[in-house]
Symmetry: C2
Subunit: 185 residues, 2 copies
Amino acid sequence: MSSPRRADAVRNRALALEAATALLSEPGATLTVEAIAARSGLGAGTVVRAFGGKDALIDAAVAALLAPVVARAGELAASKAPGEALRAFLAELMDFQAAHHGLSAGLDGLDLPGTTARRADLEAAVGDLIARAQRDGELRDDLPVGALTVLIGRTAFAVARDGSPELSAAYLTVLFAGLSPVHGR
Amino acid sequence: MSSPRRADAVRNRALALEAATALLSEPGATLTVEAIAARSGLGAGTVVRAFGGKDALIDAAVAALLAPVVARAGELAASKAPGEALRAFLAELMDFQAAHHGLSAGLDGLDLPGTTARRADLEAAVGDLIARAQRDGELRDDLPVGALTVLIGRTAFAVARDGSPELSAAYLTVLFAGLSPVHGR
DNA sequence: GCTAAACTGGAATCCGTATTCCAGTTGAGT
DNA sequence: ACTCAACTGGAATACGGATTCCAGTTTAGC
């Protein structure tokens, strides 16, 4: 029922997407159409046409990178105890960021519809983990879930930006110590 | 002994700088030469010439904004007990960010020599406050000063980015609870 | 007040980057 | 194998934004 697209077009679409996600994950990559074209071996025109414009391509690449992360949050929420799920997710998020060094740096600065939506998805998923943990008594309850969600979302990305494992570990230590309910008076 | 500059040139330099700092502090401002020119009432050429190029102008504007903040850290370090100095400084930093809404958002994304240097100054000042507090037993000592410095620097900016007072308050609460030494085993 | 030099506004230019265009090529149906 | 529509590479174009240029204006020294 969809449009009958040629095999090479489908393949090139995939190549363009792959190149875009790769550049998005690299530290100081340029992220121009030309760079994506060079990386993928395609012509500039083909890259642009693949998704109907550069912005749509970037949106798709961001979605491709973040969707698994969001899915993982759901998995953990379903399979682990609330406190443990949150803890595990944040640890994995740090690893993810370390593996995709340039992601968050490239991410903010982008004001594209799909990118914004994906980020919102992620924030919602984290918010859910937090709400569960708090309901379960694993987190201090003297702060609203909304504040904690934004707080953790922002700081996690900021810390993981340059992906030092020591820094990430220190962050998680401080964060969970600060979130612990025994300490909230 | 310096070059004999005309009074109007000096005045226009100040106007350009003022307009640039103003735009830098605004949420979604564009920060183009033309925008600065419009805001200051000057011509585009004059704006560019004022500091010898757009980049130098931005650097100067960033310096003008951050220098007082760095100075304030020194003041507090000299006048208050270490723990209290750190606490007070971070609270003031939150206020500062709230008052200059767009600053941190505009700041990262800029890769200019002066801007980088100013940021380093600020980080050094915060590092000093942290080192003092830690030496004084006010902060957990199971984490290196360097990690705490980067950690706090990054997260403070990230949190204050959109300047909600509630969020800032929640951040400070969680942060200091997490940094407290009684909690570090 | 006069003059030379500094300075100004803003138009023209330049530059980097996304998009469009088109002559040639490739894939898919027959 | 043949045909034609879809697709491709990459050159040409469009476009936003910084810089440069210059005819006119203002300042500072005399």
